[in-house]
């Protein structure tokens, strides 16, 4: 299980990094969503190998349980990631309405940052 999870996290991080480095803001947005999922999965895998352990639910026959803390952390991280993604989508829409493009290369093409009007 650990090896498969590690590979999946690696692939997710790789794809996310590639997307974040694109010049289109929409691709950056998708990159961020992938990135936060990769981070959540990474956090989940930190509870150790799940082989032979039960889900962390208080039950009558208590055996070996999976460490519940990373799962609690992920819940918080998912909520935060969701809120931030929602904000990012809204901002992107605003950008598109203003500039009629979401491509960084076009947005910043004729910009001189040393001065402001």
């Amino acid at each position: 299980m650990q090896l498969e999870t590690a590979l999946l996290i690696g692939v997710l991080f790789g794809c996310a990094t590639w997307l974040v480095l694109q010049s289109s803001f929409v691709k950056i947005l998708f990159g961020f969503i992938l990135l936060s999922n990769a981070a959540n999965l990474f956090l989940l895998s930190m509870s150790g190998p799940p082989d032979g352990r039960q889900a962390p639910i208080a039950s009558a026959e208590a055996g070996l349980l999976v460490d519940p803390l990373p799962q609690a952390l992920i819940l918080t991280a998912i909520v935060i990631g969701f809120g931030v993604s929602a904000y990012l989508v809204t901002l992107l829409y605003r950008l598109f309405l203003d500039q009629k493009t979401t491509n960084a290369a076009e947005l910043f093409a004729d910009q001189d940052t040393t001065e402001r009007t």
Binding site: A39, V84, L91, E115
Partner: protein, 502 residues
Amino acid sequence: MNLVILPLLLPLVTAVTLLFWGRPSPGRRVLAGASAAGQLAVAGLLLWRVEAGGPLVLPVGNWSAAFGIVLVADLLAAVMVGLSSFTALAAVLYGFAEYRPVVEHPLRLMLIQFLVAGINLAFLTGDLFNLFVAFEVMLIASYALLTLEADDWDVKQAFPYLAVNLVGSTLFLCATGFAYRLFGTLNFAELAVRAAALGDDPRVTALALWLLGVFGLKAGLFPLYWWLPNSYPILPAPLAALFAGMLTKVGVYMLLRMFGTVLPHHLSGLHMLVAWLAGATMIFGVLGALSRNFIRGILSYHILSQIGFMVLAIGLFTELAFAACIFYIIHHIIVKASLFLVGGTAALLNRTDNLDRMGNLWRHAPGLGVLFLLQALSLAGLPPLSGFWGKYLILTEGLRLGEYVLVGLALVASLLTLVSMLKIWNAAFWSGAEDREVCLWDWRWVRMNRVSAGMVLVSLAIGLGAEGVFRVARQAAVQVRDQASYQRAVQAVVTKDQARRP
């Protein structure tokens, strides 16, 4: 003990009340102003209690320290909370002076309160994951403030800020998971105990590097600083002052906390890396400042250059250097915030802050000129202003340790700081072309000037009473580096149930 949670609770309650109050009105402003003043009073009380009686620890939700979240207010945290409350109060008052209630954006005051709550939580928390939550609260409020009053041109500058900070947050989350896997806990005190037990394990170094990357990004350390100088200038003056004063300093505070309190002290290679990154930050920041031609842009680049000084002190890693760093933080937050306020007033009078079209300010508003000069010279480090003492301490410590190259870089950076401040001075205040109009009839500048004058007075007091401030900084530095007593203070916390049991 419950005093520790008040710096969080007050801004949160105020923010929610403001949210439901609806339209901006004088009454709403009174509430926001009174709350900001109350927060400053609470921070003062906290500082006084901690200074007299040692760190205060509060187990939130009555869980014992090993399982639950603890809030820890040691002297450094209390000082930082005091500074954030003071800067927020100044920003709120300046905002009142700038716009009448009808023109004010209805969400601005509320978001400022959320931002302050996040900042204060970051200072007070004693738990790595709770720190992540604090960063997110702070960052989401800052995203919203950044784009709240932005026009077309501004909004596209906000996107890189967002993208960089989002990636930074994700990396922070991964670092938290890594730390949990490595140590089985996220509590700072427990982390320190278990990290020390691991000794020379390379995984501890890896975690330290990871955290350096995350907090270096937040602090604006070379090479991860380019998100800052284009995004800060799009903020309105009072918000820019709050951002410039507090946000990057949260990153510096976390570096102090991590390297001083949590991570073992023998990672000297890493400390050297920190010091050199700081040297590069100083030079690149100040060169960037020279390249800009508008006040907010110049000041934004100076934040980076000053971050370099503070982080250099962390990299030198002696007790005196830590004290110098804390002194420098205290000096810098007040000076930087007040410079942004002064710049805002100057931009109001000239109707622009583009240096090519400014001028005549010294002739018509000498009071503003004096305020600017005091703060600019303090930033450059002229005695007896507060910046001199911070730089003096850092440089003497650097010389004592034989880091001549780094000291040389710092001196060059100081000199160039003075040059770029003179650039503002010559263009905006000294130049006297006839066509540069000064809108003195705009009465708002008088009240705005009073707020910045208040900050300048505090800054002067820091410079003239440097010995007293330094004594506090020294005490805070000793506490930050004393891992054993930090652990004792946290582990000694008893929850109410335990106390009741015989």
